[in-house]
Point group: C2
Chain length 886, copies 2
């Protein structure tokens, strides 16, 4: 041992019912290693072994990144000595010697990070075999064929994983041997044939690498350990971590264990099992096994495994033991377990136990039933359900028995499954829908002009735009399916054709979208409706009892509000008034307003819009009785309301009675290089105060009208895009004046509030001033993220995906709040806003308001509520409860 002082050793043994590690040490030992240690301490039969901690991997990654792959110091000082000591412990526990020519100890080397990444990293089995030890194994087991088969498997695995030799080369050599032996399965090769295969494999390795295949078991072990360490940063693993939002880990642990064999004969076998049914959550052992097989055989699917309930018959003693272990481990962990086991000559060994993955529906059932069973408290049960997964339960899904043809992939922008005939224009979508067809709207990208056609479609597929593009946001709000950013989609609108991944189709053809995974299928894949398990209500009740933050909905219509209330919404966090203007009956007056050349003309057009706006709000206030309604005043730039193509322009010019040139000139004036940062939001309100005055009046008139009927109306008028307190005070004075006037006219009392979005970085930085004029703040994290990062969400496709792939960013900040940067702005705004006005109501209405990690951050900041789209409300209620209990 070297002389460097360390607080933790690198190597943790588990053998003879004693382990140096604990289940709680996943960060250090990885999930697999920590649980192997725990099982050993519990006296459960686990093959003896040891775990190299994640520190080793961190050191390895660090040194090889800095000094290259072959850097001599890539193993930390002292590690080899610790491994030697650990091998000695395993030898003692198993009674076998590593490298022995009589009773050789064989080892497995497996990865195991703190978070499970199944199949992403490398494994080496049967390690320790060479021309001498293989004879020892043959002798010890009395089964030379088994010994030589194991050796052949080892060379193949080590050659591929450690030496980087193409797997197909070994497969070819094996196939050649089978042909020359005249057998169909490798299991039918004789010992002699296998001896030849081994010689061929060794020659093949020598040829591929230029050196002899390593014979020294200790050298084999170090090579295998290094291969596992290296595999932490292979491409597959990196992509997996990105897709599964796994970050902040130091690396993988490496688990070295004495081999046990499920393939020594019919008294042996191997299998996987769950303590409950992972699909339904039903409480009964679930799983499958193969007799006379190794673990890979189960995974490879060459032979069809038997269901677990046949284990009794095949291996009665082992089955009895296994059921006892399952029961014991589930009670020990108070959690459904997913286990791997091997039966070697009738003796049961557990190779792994971990928390079992499950469907959302199973998660609900298990959590609630475990409380009934006394295994969990309700508090704990709430922590066992993934809040993000809940949304899956609410949307219809494709029939799991369908086997559709995949056309291509895009971003999973709005979950659920939808099938229908393709429309390439919103107008066509309306026609098809009116004719009774289900419609999928396929566009390069959508814009607010498309809204009426979108409303008539089941789902949207777009070529551009990310998960927070217009199409995505609208889809989530409307509860529709959306696959966005499908880069293999091209559209020829004129020809009425489109192509996905090179396959050209015609408008009217059927396609299907799976918005939960971002996949596009040919034809109409049948869907099945969502059915909520009975435990849903119980869990939601527990969540509601425990959460501190309210949950509101982002909704613009009475229908959306009704659905949201059914899902548990306690108010509207964001009602976007601009969507209301795209209706065919209104867009003309909206356009008249925009094209007005004087305040007078503008007021005249606004006067025509006012009664329509009032009607919108009446409908919403009726539904929301007693719940606060946050209504955002006009936000998008005016040119969004004008047609972009010459044809549409001519139509509008005619309808408005202006000449095309005038219209085009106005469009030219309204054109902006960066509309996101342009003349929109409260900037419209300041330059054309009459617009917000009309909206304020419509809101208050509707509120008074509904209130007069005995319904409780709580309007919150929200001014968007404030960058400076002066904007808000300017507008507040005018809105107050209108509100007071309406209240006086109608002789009704309505408790209204006036507040602002915090969505511009400077607003967050000057929130202490802004709070003087605001009754509430609502974080618009979409814009705050866009401006804070300088990322246009419509354009981020080109760099955001590479960024996530290269690990520039751990997560998409439009999906999960960026705590460090954007979160800092939110913290400044919340703290300084409340310093000015204690008790200031603060909420969030951006896309991240429905995302569990972001909700946890909002709880930490002490926000009063989160707001999200309809289908994310149950998940948000659960996430808020989980956050409150932390």
């Amino acid at each position: 041992m070297n002389e460097i002082t360390r607080t933790t050793p690198y190597v943790y043994t588990f053998a003879n019912g004693q382990a140096a590690g604990r289940a709680s040490e996943r960060d250090l030992l990885g999930g697999k290693g920590a649980n192997l240690a725990e099982m050993t301490n519990l006296g459960i039969p686990v093959p003896a072994g040891f775990t190299l901690s994640t520190e080793v991997c961190a050191h390895y990654s660090d040194v090889t990144e800095k000094h290259g792959a072959g850097a001599p110091e890539r193993f930390p000082d002292g590690l080899n000595g610790e491994i030697d000591d650990a091998i000695a412990v395993v030898e003692q526990a198993t009674g076998r010697d590593f490298g022995s020519t009589t009773e050789p100890l064989l080892l497995s080397v497996r990865s195991g990070a703190a978070v499970s990444m199944p199949g992403m990293m490398d494994t080496v089995l049967n390690l320790g075999l060479n021309p001498e030890t293989v004879e020892g194994l043959a002798l010890g087991t009395g089964n030379p064929r088994f010994a030589w088969d194991s050796y052949r498997r080892f060379i193949q695995m080590y050659g591929n994983v450690v030496l980087g030799i193409e797997g197909a080369k070994f497969e070819h050599a094996l196939t050649a041997a089978m042909q020359s032996a005249g057998v169909e399965r490798d299991a039918d090769l004789s010992e002699a044939a296998l001896r030849d295969v081994v010689q061929n494999f060794l020659a093949l390795a020598r040829q591929a690498t230029g050196t002899d295949f390593p014979m020294d078991p200790r050298e084999q072990l170090n090579g295998s350990i290094e291969a596992v360490l290296r595999s932490w940063n292979n491409n597959r693993a990196k992509v997996y971590r990105r897709l599964n939002k796994i970050h902040g880990l130091r690396g993988t642990a490496v688990n070295v264990q004495a081999m046990v064999f499920g393939n020594t004969g019919d008294q042996s076998g191997t299998g996987v099992c769950f303590t409950r049914d992972p699909a339904t959550g039903e409480r009964k052992p679930y799983g499958e096994f193969l007799t006379n097989a190794q673990g890979e055989d189960v995974v490879a699917g060459v032979r069809t495994p038997q269901p677990l309930d046949e284990l009794d018959a095949a291996h009665p003693q082992a089955a009895k033991e296994l059921y006892a272990v399952m029961e014991r481990l589930e009670r020990h962990y108070s959690e459904m377990q997913d286990m791997e086991f091997t039966v070697e000559d009738g003796q049961l060994f557990l190779l792994q136990t971990r928390t079992g993955k499950r469907t959302a529906s199973a998660a609900l059932r298990i959590a609630v039933e475990m409380v009934d069973e006394g295994l969990l408290t309700a508090d704990e049960a709430l922590g066992r359900v993934d809040a993000a997964q809940l949304e899956q339960l609410l949307h219809p899904t494709f029939d799991p028995n369908a086997e559709p043809t995949l056309l291509g992939k895009g971003l999973n922008a709005s979950p659920g499954s939808a099938a229908g005939r393709v429309a390439l224009t919103p107008a066509r979508a309306e026609e098809l829908s009116d004719a009774g067809d289900d419609v999928i709207l396929v566009r390069l990208e959508t814009s607010p002009e498309d809204l009426s056609g979108m409303a008539k479609s089941k789902g949207f597929l777009t070529a551009h735009g990310g998960k927070t593009s217009h199409a995505a946001v609208v889809a989530r709000q409307m509860g529709k399916v959306c696959v966005s950013g499908c880069s293999v989609l091209t559209i020829d609108e004129a020809a009425g054709t489109f192509s996905i991944g090179g396959r050209t189709m015609t408008e009217g053809d059927e396609i299907s979208l799976d918005g939960s995974v971002g996949e596009i299928y040919a034809g109409s894949v049948p869907t099945v409706d969502a059915s909520l398990p009975p435990q849903f209500k119980t869990l939601m009740k527990w969540a509601d009892e425990r959460r501190r933050m309210a949950v509101r909905v982002n909704a613009d219509t009475p229908e959306e509000c009704k659905q949201a209330i059914a899902f548990g919404a306690e108010g509207i966090g964001l009602c976007r008034t601009e969507h209301m203007f795209f209706d065919a009956s209104r867009i003309l007056n909206m356009r008249r307003m925009i094209l007005a050349s004087s305040e007078e003309e503008r007021r005249a057009a606004l006067d025509k819009l006012a009664p329509e706006q009032r009607k919108d709000f009446v409908g919403i206030f009726e539904v929301m009785d007693g719940k606060p309604c946050n209504i955002r005043l006009l936000d998008p730039p005016l040119h969004e309301f004008l047609p972009h193509e010459a044809e549409g322009q001519a139509e509008v010019a005619a309808a408005l009675g202006v000449d095309l040139l005038t219209l085009q000139h106005r469009l030219q004036v309204l054109h902006e290089s960066n509309p996101m940062l342009g003349h929109r939001g409260c900037r419209l309100g300041v330059t054309y105060p009459e617009i917000y005055e009309m909206q304020g009046r419509a809101i208050m008139e509707a509120a008074c009208e509904v209130a007069a009927r005995g319904i409780t109306v709580l309007p919150e008028i929200m001014v968007p895009l404030i960058a400076d307190v002066n904007e808000l005070s300017f507008l507040r004075v005018r809105l107050e004046r209108v509100a007071q006037a309406v209240i006086a006219e109608s002789n009704t009392s309505v408790d209204y509030k006036i507040g602002t979005m915090i969505e511009v970085p400077r607003a967050a930085l000057t929130a202490g001033d802004i709070a003087k004029e605001a009754d509430f703040f609502s974080f618009g994290t979409n814009d705050l993220t866009q401006m804070g990062f300088g990322f246009s969400r419509d354009d981020a496709g080109g760099f955001l995906v590479p960024y996530l792939e290269k690990g520039m960013l751990p997560l998409d900040p439009f999906e999960v709040l960026d705590f460090v940067g954007i979160g800092r702005l939110m913290r400044i705004a919340t703290e300084e806003g409340r310093a000015t006005k204690p008790g200031l109501k603060v909420g969030i209405c951006g896309e991240t308001g429905g995302e569990p990690k972001s909700i946890a951050f909002c709880e930490e900041l002490g926000l009063d509520y989160v707001s999200c789209s309809t289908y994310r409300i149950p998940g948000a209620r659960l996430a808020a409860a989980q956050a409150a209990m932390r």
Copy 2:
């Protein structure tokens, strides 16, 4: 007096050589009031009076804004009592009584804020007259005609200013009286005629207001005081404050003084004088006067005043006294004074003294000569020159004797004067210039594609874009004239015509631009060259001795660098590499690089660009010998390098040997909704590392080549648009690798640095992390302001001008750094960056880096340097010195 405790009274008297105020109390008493007090205390003859402090105005504005114009509590409690007391003091000093029918005291009421706002607020003279006191005045002066003329003037002024009666009504009545009397000038009206005029005026006032004209002098006084207070917030005053960037003032003071009369006969007169020539700075009394006249007559210009050196002859005793007062006041204030005086029956009275406005050239001369004269220290002298004004001296200006026809106005985007023939396209600009013409490029807006045509033009006029639009930024950098955002400009490129303010002209016609004020003139206005006064060098030397911050230049070519060094630049703060790619010989390879469909193709195109880039840097490094050169890697989105019109696209497609469809498809893919927030800056570097690697190599190869010749090269490689430290560490590793390789190849040692712009809000918020990977920070305040405010500078025209007019923002944040919001981000970044890396070099290279107030803020933050365009360098050196001395 009421019983409320106050720390300061509202009213400050000055009379009998004793004043309650001091010159230093401008904030409280306004400039005029403070100096009247000071002169009184100095024993200089000032008509007795008193000043209502700015507190009164603050109270008045506050109450009337909240409770309306007529709110009874709009005068603070106790004010009337204090006014009564003050009137008694003035009565005692003058020996006259207010309202007396024998020797009536008449008063003037004038505004006077802490910062001079000449002519913006209201004044009432001759106050205290009514049918009885007018007789007393007639008796006392022995001049009834004068008394009735004064009365008529009072009614007219009070009626207009206080009662809001249209001035023309009085003028009409006066004209009628002159006609009926058969005289041409009102001075020729007899006493009797004036008595009639007074009756008519009183009747007219009654008719207009519905009540009798106030007769009570005390009521007249309160009415006049209120009118002055009200005028603080009249539109004219607000616009003046905005244009002159005056903000943070509490209001105007009100100065009430005993009237003295310059119009009692030929032994009286009135005038204005400067202690030095405000145009040249020459040390000699300068001014003009009118005999037998009131102050308004000098201003109105009805009679032509006499030059001051004729005062000796006209009023010998008063002249002697005046020269003595001028000398005394200049010495007392150590500053050139601008004074108003009245001679009443041979007796001199001073009505005002203030710091005299002067040209930049005069300011320089006065400051330096006053040091020679022992009036000022060099430190003080530096504070006397307006750093922003210095730039004027460096640019040519229009001949002041020309009287050109104004066509319209735009924004004063880049100072100086230019005349030439109009080109509507960059190509045409090049043709005209090559043919020997001076050219003015007239465009809706410019883009980097236009650069070569811009380089051949004298000035740019654009319809869109603000002071930080592309045209403006390029103009300031190139030292060209620019008027941007000219909303009355329309262009018909096809017809080859353009129109300004409705006047249509043809390409090739001559126009002239005054970029200092934003004016456009017809024809070619002759210009005169800039000539620097000899004091320039002295002052700059003093400034350089005192400043702490270095001053660098934003420059892209060796020529610009040479000019900048002549102006005192100590390094390059920003060299934009993208400008170098627009050259006709390179753009094709740039386009090839952009259109590459693989990394290989991209590298091939980059390989062709590399030697050209290297050449650019060689030229710059040679010029900058020993001075640091900060070079920013490619920043703009790639589509800026591709043509936007179909015609240009066809050409490019042909030149590149790709088909038009491929080109257009690539353009479609590159299209961005918000390019400002799109795929640009380091995002290009991360997604296509080979681009930055080529640039890094070109920089280092050039550096090594030049260094090998014994020239000191200090390259600073700057990565733009960093939002997260991961981007910088990813790029830094690659740049370091290239740099080390080049150094090794060339066997030369070059001390290079790698750092980053801080221009994304999130970069500022996470600067503590970013500093780990950065050798320096440079604030890109243009982008930081755009993203921090959410203002696209290209689109801000539509709302920024109304915002400034409505006072939403005190200043244009693209011109003067927004200390509160953007400055806070800079403070966070500086403090946290240096906490991570003490001594981290921090500078600024945004547009505000050349603006004096912003420079003062940078000094406060402790930045190491500021960087600005060439012509702003001397001003920046001065501003840095001024800031360091604060």
